[in-house]
Symmetry: C2
Subunit: 357 residues, 2 copies
């Protein structure tokens, strides 16, 4: 029996509810396929600040480092919004990404057919559905460059440095090309090379990496144009690779055009299949603790974990199938219910999915 | 008779065609309201590179500086795409913005009712129409900060600096608050204050300026969320103010969600009502010289010029009315024609609009 060590960060708001639901599903998979999933719960985010005065205690990072994968619910909430930057729950995210070397953020933007009514785009634009994967660089760029204040001709000014080395660009480009190879073999690299030096290095490096993937068609697109094209003609995209900040903006836009944002998972990967898995949605403090949250995004994140960190494709697909079936059968949580449907709570939805495993 | 001195940059691609059309309309306004519009044509963009080996000759900048306003068609095209950054047509745009001190870029995203079929969003999201104005800072931020290469732990790295002084933020915030005051009194300031130092200064400064506008409701939004909300619920926005790069991305996204991008004007303003006016669309090299281009975006830019640089509101509204009437009557150029309509060329559409003045 294989043993997998998983660090569990439930976090804030609805985090604990959706993580508990996902772990039930994972245990069911363990039973069915005879894997031993071992969990170690650690604190990060607002809840860690409340206990340790630190959103990411060193012990949490250490345990995550020694685990095979990390599951994260969500962090943040209005309670902690006025804290200084390094005390805020979001600082835990940045610390985990950098501390675990998770440089590749995979954000699939999929339209769940059963939810196509929720899609904000017209049916003729959506066509047969949407299936885009944004590969966002996650440990470089303006998120991690120096920042501060300096004197200028215009007076004191605040600055942030966007910076990328060739090596950082190469490794994320490889992740994206490998993914494109397994999908439709079309990769769009997004930058602002008509203005930014870091984007010019980005483009040049991606071109170089492309030589090792002659079967993949590479397109370049400026970020402003990409923001337009996602709305105008999303069908043109399959895999999109871009730097940290552009990826933050475009992956959120891509999620939203699917109309399924409450359903979308994400994976943040480093070397050796190490990964952190979390739903794209936030901590939703307004419905926390009420048992209403939709667990699907977290359950789908678990499916990504099985695939990317544990190389268990069949198990992963079993979860995806169970979720799809639950939706096809008409089951809905409050966030995705439409007139006539009956809204299930977190636990009830989880039970339906469990039955389909 | 008032005399207005206008520098005219026809530029590349369809630039000359649409500018000629707009000038015809402006002359008609001059006749009707007894103004003397004087034009001085100057070169910038690819065409200037071809003649002077410089996309923005000093003489062009000088003449623009001494004019009351600048009309610009479009610059750029595949012919010049492989030139080094400072020789490319886009460099002329940056040079004009900085050289003329045009720090406030106004980009109205309006849904032309007659074109609502072209809108990519579902009717229930669009509701009664869309009327958003993006106020983009245009002479600061990562567009004009230092950039280059430096040695790092990860090897040689390319960097770009995003930098803002308080003074730069104040003056653009004032433009946005003034505009919000004249519209629905709701202003959304977009930043990434959870990560960027320059965004934290942005937010703090906008808050300070807000004290002088107690009648305007100010909201802050992170840029990733703004990219989502524009698709999910665009009705929540009226005036959006943001820094240069975020404004580049969000104003293009906002234009696209209207479905009317070929129709949208822009104004870039400095002190003393100095301004440069240009259509949002590009140089469209594929249809250049064929007399097919839609002149409406440029004609609407002229309307903005009359309003913002010359303070001629009635004349400006006359143009807007004439354009709206032409559309309501069913006239369409090739880019916006749908089945059953008859496509007009640039000149024919211009004639229709002229008749409505
Ligand atoms: C919370 C915030 C710091 C974070 C980011 O900007 O990376 C979030 O938007 C995300 O995309 O995970
Ligand atoms: C052409 C390019 C340099 C320019 C910009 O990024 O500002 C364009 O996208 C714009 O929005 O006017």
């Amino acid at each position: 029996m294989m043993e997998y060590n998983i660090a569990v960060i439930k976090g804030d708001g609805i985090g604990p509810e959706v993580v508990d639901a996902a772990i039930e599903v994972l245990n069911e998979i363990g039973k069915k396929y005879k894997h031993n999933f071992k969990y170690e719960e650690v604190l990060a985010g607002g809840v860690a600040y409340d206990v340790y005065n630190n959103p990411l205690p060193e012990e949490t990072l250490e345990i995550c480092r020694n685990s095979d994968a990390v599951i994260l619910g969500a962090v943040g909430g209005p309670k902690w919004d006025d804290l200084p930057g390094d005390k805020r729950p979001e600082a835990a995210l940045l610390g985990l990404r950098k501390g675990l070397g998770l440089y590749a953020n995979l954000r699939p933007a999929i339209l769940f057919e059963a939810l196509s009514d929720a899609c904000p785009l017209k049916p003729e634009i959506i066509g047969e559905g949407l299936d885009i994967c944004v590969v966002r660089e996650l440990t470089g760029g303006i998120y991690f460059g120096d920042r501060g204040y300096k004197e200028t001709e215009m007076g004191m000014a605040a600055y942030d440095i966007m910076i990328y080395s060739k090596q950082e660009i190469e490794r994320i480009a490889k992740v994206a090309f490998n993914m494109a190879q397994k999908r439709s073999k079309i990769l769009t690299s997004v930058d602002k090379a008509n203005i930014l030096e870091s984007s010019r290095l980005w483009r040049k490096t991606v071109e170089e990496v492309a030589k090792d993937y002659p079967d993949v068609t590479l397109n370049h697109m400026y970020v402003d144009n990409a923001a337009m094209q996602l709305v105008r003609y999303p069908q043109q995209f399959d895999v999109i690779v871009t730097e940290n900040m552009f990826g933050d903006i475009l992956s959120d836009e891509a999620s939203m055009i699917t109309g399924s944002i409450g359903m979308l998972p994400s994976a943040s990967l480093g070397e050796n299949n190490k990964g952190m898995y979390e739903p794209v949605h936030g901590s939703a403090p307004d419905i926390a603790g009420q048992g209403k949250a939709n667990p699907i995004a977290t359950i789908m994140s678990i499916a990504m974990m099985l695939k990317y960190s544990f190389n268990l494709s069949e198990e992963s697909e079993n979860i995806e199938f169970a979720v799809k079936k639950a939706l096809d059968e008409g089951h809905r949580t409050l966030d995705i219910v439409s007139k006539g449907d009956n809204a299930l709570g977190t636990k009830e939805m989880t039970q339906v999915i469990l039955k389909n495993i």
